[in-house]
């Protein structure tokens, strides 16, 4: 679990419905977060760096919508928080859905490997989220929540 003692430079959080429409709320929160970040940081964030962070957030959000509430879809919300620190960013997502069986991805996703049999739901989301970030952590918390933490460090 990601724990920090320093206060974030920027912080935005909110809830999204566990539904396809709920993804709108995720992207709205993300957009608002970037507005706050741009005001807080002395220099603009590199566009590609930002795109990869957003990609990781999008993949994990989609994963929650798709997998966490298979038994009772559309019944709940999940919580998202974005934090900007001096050494990078974190996105934390919590839901109360079913535990997720995490198959750890190895290496960078090369979708050319799946080109001949790629399907709508082939499971590229987590490998992409992992490759787009510097850390992807999943935990099943004692209170029954799933928690995903995406970490991305500023380029050196």
């Amino acid at each position: 679990m990601a724990m920090r003692s320093e206060e974030p430079i920027a912080h935005v959080e909110g809830d999204a419905d566990v539904s396809l429409e709920g993804l709108d709320a995720v992207h709205t929160l993300l957009s608002r977060y970037w507005d706050v970040v741009e005001e807080a940081l002395p220099r603009p964030v590199d566009a590609t760096w930002r795109a990869l962070f957003d990609s990781a957030v999008g993949e994990i959000s989609g994963n929650i919508v798709r997998h966490a509430y298979l038994d009772n879809p559309g019944s709940a919300t999940f919580h998202i928080s974005f934090d900007c620190y001096t050494d990078g960013m974190e996105a934390t997502m919590r839901d109360q859905g079913s535990p997720y069986v995490l198959m750890r991805a190895i290496g960078r996703p090369d979708m050319r490997d799946g080109l001949d049999y790629i399907e709508f739901d082939h499971g590229w989301g987590l490998p992409i989220a992992q490759a787009a970030s510097d850390g992807l952590e999943y935990n099943r918390l004692p209170d029954g929540h799933n928690q995903w933490v995406i970490t991305k460090r500023w380029p050196s």
Binding site: T48, S55, G58, E59, M111, F120, H122
Partner: protein, 117 residues
């Protein structure tokens, strides 16, 4: 961020079709876009150009829809080319090596010229 995917696929004749997409190409829209690509190919436009100028976000589902369209187009003797990809689509193509699968063009016009070569 613009949400709902809006798209239009226009047949330009001679097997050429231009698909203009706006919004997010993600888990919410990928299945419908995939069907639209398949229909365009089946209806005589196997040389597809997908204009991503209005697309601000693509996830793995969206990538799968593009790849599915590519496969359908190639099976019909054509291709699926990408035009005007912005920051996030470009980054995700590079991350997944799909920039080595799709031909990427700065504009629809240049993608169309590529078909004439």
């Amino acid at each position: 961020m613009t949400s709902k995917m809006v798209y239009a696929i226009e047949s330009k004749g001679n097997g050429l079709g231009v698909a203009r997409l706006t919004g997010r190409l993600d888990i919410a829209s990928a299945a419908e876009v995939k069907r639209a690509f398949a229909e365009a190919v089946a209806e005589g436009s196997p040389r597809l150009i997908v204009d991503l100028a209005g697309v601000n976000f693509i996830d793995s589902s969206g990538l799968s829809a593009l790849v599915s369209g590519l496969r359908a187009a190639r099976q019909a003797g054509g291709d699926l080319r990408i035009a005007a990809a912005g920051n996030q689509p470009t980054a995700i193509f590079a991350l997944t090596s799909l920039d080595q699968v799709f031909r990427l063009y700065p504009s629809v016009e240049e993608a169309a010229s590529g078909y004439e070569e």
